[in-house]
Symmetry: C2
Subunit: 218 residues, 2 copies
């Protein structure tokens, strides 16, 4: 049975994984009949944002513990996951992908990637296994894999696109409900909420991304 | 444009809204082309559960603030929502629907319903507008509307079904990917994670529930 990892980064668009993108990834994977392995780094989130007021709070939350809300408790610490455990890996977006999995949200092209995230992404590429990245996650992916000059999309945002180019990536403009495929490196990306006007558009792009990652994983 | 309310109760299966059920409700509503109005009660959650370990923590969280994570910040306090603002209302499940919207999880048939939830549900029924309830939410709905003896399903769990009967409801056994429709009262219910083995089954039932609620709302 094909096993696809889903790398989460908390639970909420402003400080963790974008919840809609994460759930739609799980839905498309379940429909594809694959085994889903959710994971996240065991780390304190960069911050906790009140999603009603958008204010930064003084709370402390752990990205693995909060990600477990999306995964209904079925989740592993990324440090215990090797590329040999999975046939493909998908990173949903949300600010957590650029605040917890890396610090791209604060440092742009000078970002550092969480060491376990960088390790697993590099293992996947070296094993010839596909990686999907959604929304802002392609920025963190590019920083982790700058040595292979990946082709990715985050939609059409010029400032993010130029940061991706500065990190060695090749940015491709893409519609919200479409995907870009870097066939050489087996990297699949979709803009999702970087561009989408609503959840149904996000679902279209993620369905295509998941289908392509599963196809490349088999 | 048809307006459908979505009543949330936090963010997480064990202490708030079941995240998959809530997101799939939003997806089906967006695909139906209706305007979505998310809402939740402004109240401290009954408790906060660590979803990795399932332990009760000493944290305090607010159901409206946490629900805003699912709604991406676009959410209203239920006390400011009248039945005249919406054409239909849907309650996703998750423990929050029976711990925050009512205390059914602790008191069973003797449960009390949050006063604003009880008010809005009764207003909807009096206005002849449809209400959908998912997973465990039909128990809270039955307690709020025991005067109309609603027909509902929570799947096939005998203990919950008998509690529903004790509150004046009429429980109907139903498959995970199906709905039960009480046409007289315009109440639509689906078992979702009370019975489903995975997210794709949940998506099937919720798609049918949303389609029926939207049809009855027009």
């Amino acid at each position: 049975m094909t096993k696809i990892g889903v790398l989460l980064s908390g639970c909420g668009v402003f400080d963790g994984s974008e919840i809609h993108e994460a759930v739609l990834t799980l839905l498309s994977l379940d429909r594809a009949g694959v085994k889903i392995i959710c994971m996240a780094p065991d780390m304190e989130q960069h911050h906790v944002i009140n999603h009603l007021t958008q204010e930064i709070t003084d709370e402390k939350r752990n990205a693995l513990v909060e990600s477990a809300r999306i995964a209904r408790g079925e989740i592993r610490d990324i440090k215990d996951v090797k590329s040999s455990d999975i046939d493909g890996l998908i990173l949903p977006g949300g600010s957590g992908a650029a605040k917890n999995l890396s610090d791209f949200a604060f440092k742009g092209p000078d970002a550092s990637v969480h060491p376990e995230v960088k390790r697993l992404l590099n293992e996947m590429v070296k094993s010839g296994k596909p990686v999907g990245a959604i929304c802002i996650a392609p920025a963190t992916l590019t920083r982790a894999l700058s040595n292979i000059n990946p082709e990715v999309t985050i939609g059409s945002d010029e400032s993010t696109a130029s940061a991706i180019e500065a990190m060695g990536g090749q940015h491709k403009v893409c519609e919200a409900d479409m995907i870009h495929v870097d066939l050489k490196n087996k990297i699949v990306t979709t803009p999702a909420y970087m561009l989408a006007q609503g959840i149904k558009e996000v679902a279209e792009g993620i369905q295509k991304l998941v289908d392509k990652v599963v196809e490349l994983a088999k």
